[in-house]
């Protein structure tokens, strides 16, 4: 495993899973499956001494190195403790690490592969958080890969496991399978037609949760929602995968498709106008916040998937979602920017990439 990543280089590209491809990718951004695991011979993180945390990090790293060649291609291992805040933020924006682990203290690390589809967090809320992400709705392959990594890690570390309660986790809401299946959906038509409340209510009864992008509190930015299983104990992995991937996600996708059809039929001109205005603002603004950017990018993405406009490519929109975030902007600029500078830099960045006058930032 290669130690430490080149963050300037990282900021220039998007991970494989953000390419906007795969099944149902007009609505489904990505599928993520994660497993929470703990080592049998340490306390959970909350009761770990500094020595314990360091010892966990070192043990896991050296054990992973013994299987690295089978585990994944060109893995990177990043020690998070000495990292600058902006580099940690960059990893959060790329969803390689959680905000919790970025903001916590002490020994902690992340290992991920070059495609950024796999990552293993060490010393998050649990000793290990193994996650796999793929573009579009692809539950089966995502699970296969995360399960494969879990099997390999299990050969080299001893997991805390209880015959009755399964894999033991720091929070009782993750115990059992330790499995969280999440599908990220882009649902602008349901938002425009004010049907999200109905979706929320119907989901509460069937053991899944619906959250805004990045799962941050009640603030939903850019019409992105994450659906994931609420329960983890007493069900098999395939039952939980099916609950999210076969029952819930397809139903929401269908609602969104119907809402899009209705919009096209009844409000085509209004919608087209909104999409064009969003494009206009992003390609001419001189300063812009990330919230407003998300809002307009979401409209443009909708316009592209519904065939109202034919450029840019959805891949470029996904890339702009990622790179117009603060840490990415600053990394691309090569220095720390104040709020006003960021807003100006973001506006010119968007302008550059939406006006067709691309520079050499991407290839």
């Amino acid at each position: 495993m290669k130690r430490d990543a080149d963050f300037e280089q990282l900021a220039r590209y998007t991970g494989e899973w953000m390419r906007g491809e795969g099944p149902e990718s007009d609505i489904v951004i990505s599928t993520r499956v994660r497993l929470a695991r703990n080592l049998a011979d340490f306390p959970f993180i909350r009761r770990c001494s500094d020595e314990d945390r360091l010892s966990i990090e070192r043990t896991v790293r050296s054990r992973m190195e013994t299987i690295a060649d089978r585990l994944w291609e060109s893995a990177q291992y990043v020690d998070l403790e000495p990292l600058s805040e902006i580099d940690r933020q960059l990893l959060v924006e790329r969803q390689l690490i959680s905000r919790e682990i970025a903001d916590s203290d002490g020994s902690r690390a992340v290992a991920f592969d070059a495609s950024e589809g796999y990552s293993v967090m060490i010393n998050e809320e649990d000793h290990l958080r193994i996650q796999v992400m793929r573009s579009g709705l692809d539950i089966e392959n995502t699970w296969k890969q995360v399960n494969r990594i879990d099997d390999m890690l299990e050969e080299v570390v001893l997991y805390a496991f209880h015959p009755r309660y399964g894999y033991l986790t720091a929070c009782p809401t993750n115990v059992g399978t330790g499995l969280r299946v999440s599908v990220m959906l882009h649902l602008p038509a349901l938002v425009i037609t004010e049907q999200m409340d109905r979706v929320f209510r119907s989901m509460q009864r069937i053991n899944v949760t619906v959250r805004g992008l990045y799962g941050e509190g009640s603030q939903y930015t850019g019409d992105f929602y994450q659906v994931s299983n609420q329960v983890t104990l007493g069900y098999t992995e395939s039952e939980l995968l099916d609950l999210v991937g076969k029952e819930v996600a397809p139903r929401i996708i269908e609602y969104e498709r119907k809402a899009r059809e209705a919009l096209l039929k009844n409000n085509r001109d209004d919608l087209h106008d909104e999409v064009s205005r969003a494009m206009g603002i992003l390609s001419t603004a001189r300063k812009i916040s990330s919230e407003e950017t998300m809002h307009h990018l979401s409209k443009i993405r909708l316009g592209i998937s519904m065939g109202l406009i034919d450029k840019p490519d959805v891949k470029i929109i996904n890339q702009l979602f990622l790179q117009s975030q603060s840490a990415h902007l600053q990394k691309l600029q090569g220095r720390i920017l104040g709020t006003a500078e960021r807003h100006a830099r973001r506006a010119s960045f968007l302008q550059q990439h939406l006006s067709g006058k691309d520079d050499a930032t991407w290839n």
Partner: protein, 175 residues
Amino acid sequence: MKCQFCEKPATFHITELTEPTGPQVMHLCEEHAKGFLHKGASSPMAAIATALAKQLGQSGDDLEELDQKECPVCGITFREFRNSGRLGCPYDYTHFEADLRPLLINVHDRTDHAGKHPQRSAGTADSQARMIKLRSEMEEAIKSEDYERASELRDELKNMAAPLNPPNTETDDQS
């Protein structure tokens, strides 16, 4: 009356009517009430809070007693678990089993694992507890510069934690 989650006085008395078992009353300080009401049913802390409130009913005495209970391995008290929503070590699932089970039912509907099993495990809950204790004794020994004792403990720990199968022995159907 004290808040169910901390030492502050309970100024909010929230009645939950959504449960089939009838109304449940929760006694909370302002801060915990806010957190509880804003987070909604999707947050793990809220799920734990709701489950515990139901389980403990309205009696402060039961709670007082339960709160004092302490894990012999990691030293976490039930109160600390209630306040943070996080357990201290794997042995807590054994030590607090009776108190956690109703909570697990509330959160998951079920209590028995039905999924994947690891190929190998650390034996009983007691032997896992022993490993954690040995490790903290070892750290203590190192701190007090008793290196002889530390290395004894390290050997004992190594024997208990050694992988049953050495890695790198089997081929993998990599896709």
